[in-house]
Amino acid sequence: MKYEAVIGLEVHAQMLTDSKIFCGCSTKFGSEPNTQTCQICIGMPGVLPVLNKKAFEFAISTGLATNCKISPYSRFARKNYFYPDLPKGYQISQYELPICEHGFLEIVVNGEDRKIGITRIHMEEDAGKNIHESTSGGQGSGNYSFVDLNRTGVPLMEIVSEPDIRSPKEAAEYMKKLRELVRWIGVCDGDMEEGSLRCDANVSVRPVGQKGYGTRAEVKNINSFKFVEKALEYEIKRQIKVIEEGGKIIQETRLWDSNKGITESMRTKEEAHDYRYFPDPDLVPITVEQKLIDGLKASLPELPDAKRKRFVSEYGLPQYDADLLTEEKSTAEYFEKALEKAVEELVKLGVRIDLKIVAKIVANLIITNIFKHLKEEDKEINETPLTPGHLGNLVSCVAVGSTSITMAKTTILDEVFKSGKMPEVIVKEKGLIQISDSSEIEKAVDEVIAKNPKEVERFKAGDEKLLGFFVGQIMKLTKGKANPQIVNELLRKKLS
């Protein structure tokens, strides 16, 4: 029998606020344990929570970016359970009336468009962290556990999808899309290693064609991007095997063990906590005014999908280039700024060039050359001396022919990264001005033809590939300054 998987994801995204959701403590990652706490987040007697406005706005913005309805009336609830990293004995979350509902995300999987429903987005506070004394090898007797409450009260959004996902690949694409979005609108840094994006999955399988859902298991602890697919693949196989061997899936919570590559039962439905949710009487219900929603909507940046489409239609970029340039909002913005600068300079110089050609030059430089630099130097695009202004200037130098594209890609870019000087200055200082004087180039062409009689013979016999060899030799001779277009023309003329 053929089976299909039914998957719903619950993604916890840590919001990028400076302070915690119900008190003023810092949310900075990696500080000494218990240095970012106060009486409120450690749950001392008599303290009260006050909602961080920024967190609340971030949740609404996320809802707007994921096509959700923003609830005009929403409230917090308490989720009650005992654990040492939960100082109040309850987590403040949302239950019956979440802030956002009924949204969706569009993803492309194997060339097919898929729409994944988003059930709800709600706000909640994070718990702290228990650190257990090592039992083997490490420090201590293994008898003690320590509690770090720095993370307690850090604002989270839980983004719950509909059970619309049908494969691990789709789940990964959905996660990727969601991560891109929250990073794009600046509400979460999407860092899975630091735990700012975490994912639990509800998984069931059913024979293809069956309408009803099978019994589901919840897989927890999927804390890395690459494990989303792996954990789901494992769990789906496991469930199919159980069914095919005549067994029954039991409703339970399972833990993904990334070392072993398996999921293991954590607790069954009977052992499940009764969280005794009830409205938190310490926080007044949240009423969201349309004015606020409109304001947040207006301040949302152009979202990645829209940008990609526009890059193709407006600048004539290939889909591939558009995809690469919009993976990060900073890159997309950088690209558009550089393009704007280049066009501005060309207009000033009175040079009329098709926007699409300039766009392609800018895109190529970013994708093939600048990305390489960034990777080598482990830097973000905004962290180098090469500003969009520099790139625009470089492109205008190439477009008006004052230097060659070869020079631009190599010596000049290197120099900008090193010194931060403007490309036109480098061109002048280093004598990198392109030779467009035909007579000067002709001399070099003649010299190269004279020096390589064998290659000339072979070219004339039809070995067209050798043209590149001649161009290379001429460039070497002119230290790369020869205008490649003229070199090509002259070579063809002389060799035919």
Binding site: M44, L48, P49, N80, P281, D282
Partner: protein, 484 residues
Amino acid sequence: MELYRLNISEARELLDKRKITAKELLNSIYQRIESVDSKVKAFVTLSKEQAYEMADAAQKQINEGRSLTVQGIPVAIKDNMCTKGIRTTCSSKILENFIPPYESAVTSRLSENGYVLIGKTNLDEFAMGSSTENSGFFTTRNPWDIERIPGGSSGGSAAAVAADECIAALGSDTGGSIRQPAALCGVVGLKPTYGRVSRYGLVAFASSLDQIGPITKTVKDSATLLNIISGKDPFDSTSAPVAVPDFTKVLGNEIKGLKIGIPREYFIKGMDREIEESVKTAIKKLESLGAIPVEISLPHTEYAVATYYVLATSEASSNLARYDGVKYGFRADGKDLMEMYMNTRAQGFGAEVKRRIMLGTYALSSGYYDAYYKKAQQARTLIKADFEKAFNSVDMIVTPTSPTAAFKSGEKTDDPLQMYLSDIFTISVNLAGIPAISIPCGFTSNNLPIGLQIIGKHFDEESILKAAYAYEQSTDWHKRKPNL
């Protein structure tokens, strides 16, 4: 002169005229405590050292002619309001050694106005009870008869005021915990509108019902303290952004033409005859001052106690989860985490607190939530609506504060339900979130005080203070003092 007998207004005048010093006043209070508190047992902690520092600071301000309302006035605070650096126990073993690193909003405001904190008063553990017999430490006695209880849960504060062990006090009221002990001790107790006073730093019992208020010797003193502690607090989301009037301004205004509602559900067959007579006489008195009594009905009154004990315990079961032995307070050993939790809470909490945690946990459990918590919320809405409807035709409502005068220690400890019924006349007010005041209105044949409750509209403390003041000024009940 027995300075400890003074009320706030009298002490204010003497201090400002330099007839007495803040230190002399404080000395007198501590001497009084020394001589009577072994009988009354109102205090859990005395903060003498800090008190003298505060008195010194207050005196400087007074000398510079810059005294504020309670500058140099010795005040007792119920021990469920956090005081920075001073032990705050909630009369519970689980917080026996808890010293808050922060100050509650109300005590901050009192500090800003120059008060002198003399000590923390006893209560039923976590404010759960009506007699202070549930205190994890000891029972406070009624100054009018030390065989009897002072009421609760703010029994320590009410007894301290009645016994002149302080000039005034703060209590907290979740189901009657200010008004009932005030009635039983023959003093004034005011529960403000929910949201009028910040709860920040008040150790929560039932967050949607808890409210801090004054317990004082006179109505005017209550108005004075309410002026200080009222107002929106950015640290309490449930505190209301409602303008705070000067509550003392209306005192002395006529009450002619005021319509006072007499709810028939509060005058039931079989109720204590002495209480009924006193309250009816008080109503006559108000009538003679020009008020117009109107019989009204609050038809859902009979559901109030049940509703309250579902909602209050539900919230409490969650509010008290933080006392787990992990971070602060009492911790018992255990072989593993679960055993540590269980031992800590089994040994740290008293019987009544455990009973309420269990009741509340049950009411919120999956499968029972709809039948209990949700139903109770619906009943609460109906009870609230009863008052709203009544206030369409009357300006305030007058009832007895408590169905009985002070009962004997131990009389009801074995019967929680009987104990719960002590709050039968006060609980609805908390469910509706409206203000109410209890003032002395007579004595039983055993010389035990009787309280009159005046209930007002949302954020209309002015009207009930005005009526209470008019009544007080035309009677002498508040002038009587217990023999200690």
